[in-house]
Amino acid sequence: MPRLQMTVEALRERALFVRRDIIALLAKAQSGHSGGPLSSADFGTALFFHEMNVNPSRLDDPGRDLWHFSIGHVTPVIYSLMGERGYFPLADLLGFRQLNGHLQGHPSKHDTPGIEVSSGSLGQGLSVACGMALGSRMDGASRRVYCVMGDGEQQEGQIWEAAMFAAHYKLDNLCGIVDYNRKQIDGDVETVMGIAPLASKWRAFNWHVIEVNGHDIAGILQAFDEARATSGRPSVILAHTVMGRGVSFMEDDYKWHGVPPNRDQAEQALKEMGTSLADWTARLESWTRPEVAPGLRAAS
């Protein structure tokens, strides 16, 4: 079942799972990032449970699509997606950022099988994805390559080197996704270092640009379809999102970029999402085999 192509309805449910996982694992670790993981949860879920051909039970499947998070700090969402998708037991999420766990603060290929390339220093990932896309084309593989970037990250010049390269080599098997949540560590992106007009920039770098509400699953699926149908140039999806999405007191507040909820806050967040810290932690703890977790209705 490499490409799950779940329905919009099922994806919405799954995204809720992922958000619950994020809160629960952060509450446990008491270290890590809340804001970006929550803003990426919807398109991340669409990627892992609909769009991409991945095969967690055979990590080196030559037919697999390749994904890479250039924003390495959003490990809470990456690991939740991987766990839910069956890369490793969900219980492992509770070892996040701990010395003896296999889930490092930033993605590490050698600690977490399934990660293709380690990351954590911003701005490098799109170049990595370019290499993956070019290598795939050299092999005549039909594989697609997905790269998730941040909006603050667009300030790194290397992004524009990679943008130039991908268009020059007409890498239409490459799809970039920008988590356009308008926040970065020091505040509003437009206040810290304005990146607008972002779509014009990507167009001037000869990419096919798709703008979408990054919390509208149906729209996201359409965007992925449009990217897939675009030939002769790479596509970038500007996913307009809200930092901290799904937790009332985190939404649109840059202060949640890099901090975890404390226990009380986690409890409150999970309550808003229809569960409790104890219940959801128990669900994770009980999940000791890697497999695709069933849908919301079945599980809760």
Partner: protein, 334 residues
């Protein structure tokens, strides 16, 4: 508070309760040093790459907003903007994580800053493994090697809050480029506001002549603890705080080699090219003696808690004690 003109040598170690030291963040020393400077001189400006809070330059930004420049996530740009500011007569301090300050903008540091010899001051935060849960990518452990190799650069790794604060101030007076490394988590305070700090001069923080433990950064505390433990066994270790890695105080190092005949180096850095490398280079050129290295053994860091990590990577006081035993055995065997 001036870093270089207080009480004269010999430098008394501040009265430290090694068993229960006061804990303070070195990055706050950097932030407070910048504020000290901001008050004293108009030409000091501060740049940051979207890490205002983590590098503690927020303290300066709040007080001197007109001299604070947010660059966003663009370290290469920041290094060269600092150079341009220096070219117009400013004394720019820039701050980002040490991993990025030393690596992401290494070419800019080499060509634009160091080759031009501009007084750009580079603040590398989150130095060493003690950064903790962020893991390997954010744990700067190659900075000493990189910065030491570049001509015109100076490199300072202060041992605690006070020394970081004084070093920050002292670096502004040096008309050349330099780099200061500090950490994230609170670490033991082993100096006081009046302890002498002179750029390029090592401090003997404990006398002894059975062996010398030469340390920098947070490892000065670990060295002191180790020396105490060794003293209980009748071994008197001299402890040298080499806060300035470049230029190295070659005289003090040679003296330590000559008078002690055995050395342990202790650093929160990769084993190649760091403090240990600098001391080895100096010693073989002056007075060759056995040296044991306490350092990170050429491997990447990982997520964990400060203390857990230091223990797991073998850079706590007991590791220093064991290295001392090894080097003393070698000294005796010569």
């Amino acid at each position: 508070m001036s870093g270089t003109t207080k009480t004269a040598a010999p430098v008394p170690p501040a009265p430290v309760n090694l068993a229960k030291p006061e804990m303070k963040r070195t990055r706050e020393g950097f932030g407070h040093g910048l504020v000290d400077l901001g008050e004293r001189r108009k030409d000091v400006v501060v740049l940051v790459g979207d890490l205002t809070g983590s590098t503690n330059v927020n303290l300066f930004a709040e007080r001197f907003p007109d001299r604070f420049v947010e660059v966003g996530i663009a370290e290469q740009n920041m290094m060269c903007i600092a150079a341009g500011l220096a070219a117009t007569g400013k004394i720019p301090f820039l701050a980002t994580y040490g991993a990025f300050a030393s690596c992401r903008s290494a070419d800019q540091m080499r060509v634009t800053v160091a080759y031009t010899d501009l007084p750009v001051k580079i603040g590398g935060a989150h130095g060493g493994i003690s950064v903790g849960p962020d893991g390997a990518t954010h744990q700067a452990m190659e900075e000493i090697a990189i910065v030491r190799s570049i001509p015109n650069m100076k490199m300072v790794v202060p041992c605690d809050y006070w020394e970081t604060r004084k070093a920050t101030v002292a670096l502004a007076d040096d008309p050349h480029p330099n780099y200061i490394r500090f950490g994230r988590e609170p670490v033991p305070v082993v100096t006081g506001p009046d302890t002498l700090f002179t750029l390029g001069k090592a401090n003997v923080v404990r006398e002894g002549s059975d062996l010398a433990i030469i340390a920098c950064g947070v490892m000065v505390y670990e060295a002191l603890v180790a020396a105490e433990e060794l003293s209980d066994r009748g071994i008197q270790a001299r402890v040298l705080n080499v806060h300035t890695l470049k230029p190295l105080d070659r005289d003090q190092v040679a003296r330590a080699a000559r008078e002690c005949g055995a050395i342990v180096t202790a650093e929160e850095h990769q084993i190649h090219g760091g403090l240990g490398g600098a001391i080895a280079e100096a010693v073989v050129q002056s007075y060759p003696v056995p040296i044991e290295f306490v350092a990170v053994h050429d491997r990447f860091g990982r997520s964990g808690k400060q203390d857990e990590l230091m223990a797991a990577f073998g850079i706590k006081a007991p590791d220093v004690v064991r290295a001392a035993e090894r080097v003393l055995a070698r000294k005796r065997a010569r």
